[in-house]
């Protein structure tokens, strides 16, 4: 067991994947000598060389588009998009090419690409550096989308994503990069990549979160416990596909569900979960499924981001509202 920060755990996972498979490449802006702006790829170029850890030109469509070609040639590229808001120049290649290649080739071609994206706010950044664009990719058939919340998952999930033959959007909660936990590098992953996890069992309401909001929700559950409320917190881990059986079991037990994410509310992951829980657990629900999310505005200037982002109090407010039914 080693105590590791989340960013360091991804680094260790990348290293292990690269050691295990010579076809695994890391590519992106500043991922080489600098080790990435968050140092997630620190030391990899030194150990694996410039052919496997590629400092690319500064163009996201080029990063994704050349990764497609490398994948077609048999490589397994792990692309870093430097910040969430910079994925959009590569959006066309992701949505029109990466997501559809297997389908349109009738299964003949595979593009096992991982696209790592540090996402979310809470670090006082300037615009375009705090966004949560995961919904666009969840909406896109052909992509798998995961979001990690803690170092142990980060270590294993990056390796599972790289091993998968489908393309994966891998969202990393940038404000949690420095969160530390024990990581057992010799063990094996506790769950398949697409599985959700009940991180805290409870009976009164289900709180569903992913990425940076998992810790917020655990803090909220601890505060609620002091008030005598028992919250069940679920870390989705995988946003596409969704692990519905875990949600079914929880909601059928609690009868109440709150979905929490930083991303804007409309047509977000929360909306999809609300729809599916309502369709599939209708007779178990005691209250409408509520969403506690960012507001439907562009990500605001950082001096007001605390009011924009869901925090412990807003999560508890949402819980109070579902419990009031």
């Amino acid at each position: 067991m080693t105590e590791m920060a989340l960013g360091k755990a991804i680094n260790a996972g990348l290293r292990r994947a690269m050691e295990g498979d010579a076809k695994v490449l890391v590519m992106g802006e500043d991922v080489g000598k600098l080790g990435g702006v968050f140092r997630v790829t620190d030391g990899l170029q030194k150990d694996f060389g410039e052919d496997r850890v590629i400092d690319t030109p500064l163009a996201e469509s080029g990063i994704i588009g050349t990764a497609v070609g490398l994948a077609l040639r048999g490589y397994r590229p792990v692309c870093e998009i430097q910040f969430d808001g910079f994925v959009f120049p590569g959006y066309d290649q992701i949505v029109s090419q990466v997501a559809k290649m297997h389908f349109r080739s009738a299964g003949r071609l595979r593009v096992p690409i991982v696209i790592r994206i540090p996402f979310g706010g809470g670090i006082g950044a300037v615009e375009h550096h705090s966004e949560s664009p995961e919904g666009y990719f969840v909406h896109t058939p052909g992509l798998k989308v995961v979001a990690v919340s803690n170092p142990l998952d980060a270590y294993w999930m990056i390796q599972q994503a790289i091993a998968l033959d489908d393309p994966v959007l891998f969202f990393e909660p940038k404000r949690r990069y420095w969160d530390k936990a024990e990581v057992d590098e010799d063990g094996s992953p506790a769950l398949p990549l697409a599985a959700a996890r009940v991180v805290q069992a409870g009976t009164d309401a289900t709180v569903v979160a992913y990425g940076p909001m998992v810790r917020t929700c655990l803090d909220a559950a601890a505060a609620a416990a002091e008030e005598g409320q028992s919250l069940e917190v679920i870390d989705l881990r995988s946003l596409s596909p969704l692990d519905m059986p875990v949600l079914h079991d929880s909601v059928r037990k609690t009868g109440r569900c709150v979905v929490v994410h930083e991303a804007q509310r409309t047509l977000g992951v929360g909306g999809e979960i609300a729809a599916r829980v309502t369709e599939e657990c209708f007779y178990s629900l005691e209250a409408p499924v509520l969403r506690v999310t960012g507001y439907d505005t562009p990500y605001p200037p950082s001096r007001v981001e605390e009011e924009y982002l869901p925090d412990l109090d807003r999560v508890l407010d949402g819980v109070d509202r579902v419990l009031a039914f």
């Binding site: 163009a59 588009g65 050349t66 066309d92 290649q93 349109r104 080739s105």
Partner: protein, 385 residues
Amino acid sequence: MTVETDATPPAGSPAHDEHELVQLLTPEGERIPNPEYEPLIADVTEDHVRGFYRDLVLARRVDTEAVALQRHGELGLWASLLGQEAAQVGSGRALRPQDHVFPTYREHGVAWCRGVDPGLLLGLFRGVDQGSWDPRENNFHLYTIVIGAQTLHATGYAMGVQRDGAVGTGDPDRDAAVIAYFGDGATSQGDVNEAFIWAAVTNAPVVFFCQNNQWAISEPLERQTRIPLYKRAAGFGFPGIRVDGNDVLACLAVTRAALHRAREGEGPTLVEAYTYRMGAHTTTDDPTRYRLAADLEHWKLKDPIERVKAYLTRTGGADHEFFESVEAEAEDLAEHLRTYCRELPDPLPTSIFDHVFVEPTPALLEQRDEMAAYLASFVTEEAHR
């Protein structure tokens, strides 16, 4: 050496105003001496030229037959290569088996040279699939419709070739190059410019083969560029060359040179094959709305097939019997296409779920079952009637 020829368009536009292009065979079928590029096709015999003639005629026949199939309602759409046969056959015949091709949706002549059954090209345009050939069998990637996107795929693939150690070894069976096809319109796309940058800084073994057919649907070359397209390469740091795109021998020679450079590890080249889209953009387009019939007549005089026929006739390299036999072969190919097209089965509705993922998701399998049950409900209703 380059020559001034009447393939050069009228002056007046900066994009066209360039009197240098490589030509080895005039529209009248006369060979032009060229010390730089002639040696690259020194091995080309009359037999080879007859082979190119056959390729050109059959590629055109595939095209005219597909247009006819669209007119008869058998295809939803077709993108015609009419006029661009020499650019495609010349470059296609320059490739080695281990080279890899990334086409647009108009490279039917290149597909022919790669040994892809032309019938397989029809599925996409009939609406029964999105590319039914196996790109790994002929090293011919699926057609790409998003303009220019494939140039990045080609460049990335070439970076993979580099990493596989298949560049600059001197082994003619091992060293490989990648060729990306695109048009004049695509040169305005960010992806194409990013591909140029990537290829330049990584020295990737890729040839950028631009068929400048002068029209991006209704927009003439002047809407895309103020300078001749091949000159753009200089700004990216690799050679660019303009070739007469209606001259199969010149396209062969120039592409061979560019592929050779790539395989040797000397990096990318931009080839601008200067040609003309003699047909519509696709079967839904109406070029009479935006261009003059006189232009088309001008380019008909430079037809890529007629000049090879004139050459073979002039040299005695082919006789009437040969030309007749190619025509007969074209008839057979057309019949094959008609039959193949009409027999193409519609896909099973539930097959749309088959390859969304390598590892299917539970939600998708549920949707497949939902669709199957819904469709089956009609069968049951019929039975009860």
